[in-house]
Amino acid sequence: MKTIIGLVTALAVNLLAPYGAWAHAALQRAEPKVGSEVSPAPQKVTLWFTEALEPALSKVEVKTAAGKSVNAGESKVASDDKRRIEAAVETLSSGTYRVEWSVVSVDGHKTSGSFIFTVK
């Protein structure tokens, strides 16, 4: 019976509210945007996920095209919104940067991804 209730609830939650409470954390949006060109250079990179994150197991790293990290300190999950993680970055010159993220949602599922943005 619990299984049936679980399945029906899952169906209802997914249909009524696209971002439910159980699943893997998927990247919802980022600032700078995925694949974008920006000017002036951002001082931090912010990622929003579909699920709350485990702060100790989630990280974001920003790298130059040559693979050098430009993080200014550790990335942090926001205390007021566990779905947001931020990484402060050093002063960025013109060029392409890769954002690599690896996060664990509160249900223990691990997901990862990467994207680039360009500073004009």
């Binding site: 997914n14 696209p18 998927a26 949006r29 990467s114």
Partner: protein, 319 residues
């Protein structure tokens, strides 16, 4: 067998079974592969397809009228270890011949075993093999359930194109399955009494091996948004995966070796713990069907819904 050899063997088997350390279902690196509806996907996962509904028209032949076959099906896959799963599949069919009463009944139970051999994150590649058994005699003869068992050893693969240099191709992924269905009985004979000739007639039906092969092409808009370029798609489009599935059967013996199958274009919407899929079923030739059929599925990701109970492997760490 010496005790040390036994221990070494057990350790080796354990290492093999627990090797892949599964993460989220259907993922390889940055790629999330949807659970395809027509072609079995290469992943080992806790999942439930309930229901899968398909409807397709068949052409008549000789004195047999054409018919419409509608199937209601469920499939439940359970991980035993993070890289090994068992699945159970059962269909209920309604066959409605033109101008006649419909016949209905359960098909044969299908039991499958799948082992994930390779999962490579950087190349978004996965390779698995498995074997499925059809339990002969389980289902109803009225809906042509076979009275004999068969087995289908199958190789599965999936490959995402996230590592190619062309941006618009990176959301694309392909999966495929290649197997041979081996019937456990070579022929079936059926004896009937003909009242006109007042004689018994014996009809022999031969059963041949069949090549079963299929592919999917899936273009992931979520992948596009999260890994390539944010083009500003909102709900529900940011969770859509346009897909084309194709599944074929080619007899490997007998007088008629014509390939049959369908090509299914459609859409899959991936939610947090379920996915919904809708596809058109286009027969590739006259023998494969008539007109365009339809395929619909609700698919539950059980590892998300029940992460601490039936949604996790029985043995071995899951995440």
């Amino acid at each position: 067998m010496s005790r040390s050899l036994f221990v070494a063997g057990a350790a080796g088997l354990s290492a093999l079974l627990f090797a892949s350390g599964a993460e989220a279902h259907g993922t390889a690196g940055n790629r999330f592969f949807v659970a395809s509806m027509l072609v079995e996907d290469p992943f080992v996962a806790d999942e439930l397809a309930l229901p899968t509904i398909s409807s397709m028209r068949e052409r008549g032949s000789g004195e047999e009228p054409g018919s419409r076959e509608t199937e209601f099906e469920f499939e439940w896959a359970k991980t035993i270890t993070p890289s090994f799963a068992i699945s159970f599949e059962q269909a209920y069919s309604i066959v409605k011949p033109k101008g006649e009463k419909s016949v209905r009944g359960f098909g044969n139970l299908e039991v499958g075993f799948k082992y994930q051999v390779v999962k490579d994150a950087p190349s978004e590649f996965v390779l698995s093999f498995g074997v499925g058994f059809e339990v002969g005699g389980w289902g109803n003869k009225r809906v042509e359930a076979d009275t004999f068992w068969s087995a289908t050893p199958t190789l599965y693969f999936g490959k995402g194109f996230g590592d190619v240099g062309v941006d618009f191709l990176r959301p694309l992924a392909i999966t495929g399955a290649l197997g041979v269905n081996v019937p456990f009985k070579k022929r079936t004979s059926m004896t009937t009494f003909d009242a006109d000739t007042m004689d018994f007639e014996t009809e022999i039906e031969r059963h041949y091996k069949t090549l079963q092969w299929g592919m999917t092409f899936q273009y992931s808009l979520p992948y596009l948004q999260a890994n390539v370029r944010d083009i500003g798609l909102g709900a529900p489009f940011n969770r859509l995966v346009p897909i084309v599935e194709m599944a074929f059967e080619t007899p490997l013996g007998g007088p008629n070796r014509k390939t049959t199958g369908t090509i299914n274009p459609g859409l899959i919407w991936t939610g947090d713990s379920i996915q919904l899929g809708l596809e058109a079923q286009i027969p590739i030739n006259r023998e494969s069907g008539k007109g365009v059929g339809v395929l619909f599925q609700v698919h539950f990701y059980l590892d998300d819904i029940f992460p601490n109970s039936i949604g996790k492997p029985i043995f071995g760490a899951t995440k």
